[in-house]
Amino acid sequence: MNRRKFVQNSGLTALSALIGAEIVFGNAMPKGYIPLGLQDPDPFKMFDKDPEMLVLNDKPWNIESLAHLLDDRVTPNRAMFIRNNGKIPEKVDPAAWTLTFDGESVQSQKTYSLAELKSRFSKHTYQLTLECGGNGRSEFDPPAKGNQWSVGAVSSAEWTGVRLRDLLDDVGIKSNAVYIGYHAADTHLSGDPNKEPISRGFPIAKAMQDETLLAFQMNGKDIPLAHGHPLRLVAGGWPASVSGKWLTGISVRDQVHDGPKMVGDSYRVPCNPVAPGTKVADEDMCIIESMPVKSLITYPKTGATISHGKNISFRGHAWAGELEVDTMQYSIDFGSTWKECNLEAPANRLAWQHFSGEATFPRKGYYELWARAIDSLGNAQPMVLPGWNPKGYLNNACHRIAVKVV
């Protein structure tokens, strides 16, 4: 669909409709001139993303990466997926930015300026894997509602900031604190200024981890606007929706946080497994915490054709939420046999790990190269879809690429 050209033509028609007459010399209008207000934003330029990425949604912006674009050991902005529930804030002024701690379980409410956060507390950098809870949703049957992510809603960038724990210590929290909930500057799609698009959080134990950051840098630079500039929470290994962007507040709660997208079936799965398509009551749904073990073949790109006798050197990343990946395997015969391949230790806890191997193919034909990670508790990725759930979360089925030997 050539929307831009369509808008251009309709603009001329609109002008002629406005004048109520034929625009006889309409063809003499400068070519390529589009009135400013009608210009279509180019998301790839606007967000500095690889043009191969897939726009799932443009209101709100949701853009997915592809397996082969995620080949870097540390994910650059160019290949990082964008997930939004609301509208990206339009005006961000780091000089005036503040973060307020409140809620039932703070000793007293306290507000910090961004400058104060940066100067008063020690800085830490970690590589942290953030995966959307709904990554892989497109495969579920019956289909699940929401953005239909395939495999590209995952990243592992280096985040720099201060520890949430250090701030909570400075604020002073009561012994009845159980949960934190974030508040942010994004705005609701309906335009209602009193509605938060999303306000999620996690238990105090997660808040107290070394790697849980209030981050102001990504890969050594200011965080890009679409990823939460000037301040965001980063809690690796959990659904990325707990890592609130454009952070303005933290509520320390004496109960499980009940902000939008914490309740109902959002980011929840049935506490006990259900048959596909089952209606599940709210009270039988449990909040997703650690993400499951998963891996992605990032080289070669799917569709590789090689000559008989040649091998394929493949590589990729594997991660396991709060845990580590222990073993990495691959198969060229649809899981009939598995072979182990090389797996590196993570750069730090909650960073993805790199694997690599060399696959040989016995004869000509169509193959699929499958990858399977096994975590430190012995949980392996399933070859078919894992347990169905109403919103299509936690699909960690084995990733596979197509190979032809000719």
């Binding site: 669909m1 929307r3 369509f6 309709s10 001329l12 028609t13 609109a14 002629s16 409709a17 004048i19 109520g20 007459a21 034929e22 625009i23 006889v24 010399f25 309409g26 063809n27 003499a28 209008m29 400068p30 726009v55 799932l56 949604n57 443009d58 209101k59 709100p60 495969e139 579920f140 049957d141 019956p142 289909p143 509602k145 929401g146 953005n147 239909q148 609701h188 799609l189 309906s190 335009g191 209602d192 939008p260 109902g264 070669p300 790109k301 799917t302 569709g303 590789a304 054709t305 090689i306 040649k310 394929i312 050197s313 699929e368 070859m383 078919v384 879809l385 089925a397 197509a402 032809k404």
Partner: protein, 159 residues
């Protein structure tokens, strides 16, 4: 000089000046309006061929349908299309609808969820029209537990 005559004389002078200013304004204004319509001054050049853009009502083009698809939104053409366009693309992109597949119950539950949490208005009689359209053109397909890899873009892998 008679004060009355003097007054009349200056009144005439002012009126003359006003006239000149008005005429100048008309000339400049006319020029600017012309610039808007014909910025390339093509009317003063020998016109090779003159294309005529017929002033069709705006809506005709704005809601153009090509090959069974509503161009502006990507929705499939069908009964209830414009009701869906008018009610379901104000807050979010049509892409959020067209990438999803649900049966009638699913679409109805989604509408209810939007009304309860996302400020969607009461759709009244339109609800049935919308649900029928969505359940017809955006119905689930059986996918099973794992599908074949599709849309493979084959290439030669050089080492």
């Amino acid at each position: 000089m008679d004060p009355t005559e003097k007054f009349e004389q200056s009144a005439r002078a002012i009126s003359r000046m006003m006239g000149i200013i008005f005429a100048m304004f008309m000339v400049v204004g006319g020029f600017l309006v012309y610039m808007m319509i014909d910025p390339a001054f093509s009317a003063f050049r020998p016109a090779p061929e003159v294309a005529v853009v017929v002033a069709t009502p705006l809506e005709d083009d704005f809601d153009k349908i090509e090959n069974g698809v509503h161009i502006r939104t990507g929705f499939i053409e069908g009964e209830g299309l414009m009701t869906v366009v008018n009610n379901c693309t104000n807050c979010h992109s049509a892409k959020l609808v067209t990438q999803n597949r649900m049966n009638e119950d699913g679409w109805r539950a989604t509408i209810k969820w939007m009304q309860e949490t996302q400020n969607l208005w009461d759709l009244g009689k339109n609800e049935d029209i919308i649900v029928k359209y969505l359940a017809t053109y955006y119905a689930p397909e059986k996918k099973g537990r794992r599908q074949n890899l599709a849309d493979i873009d084959w290439y030669v892998l050089e080492k």
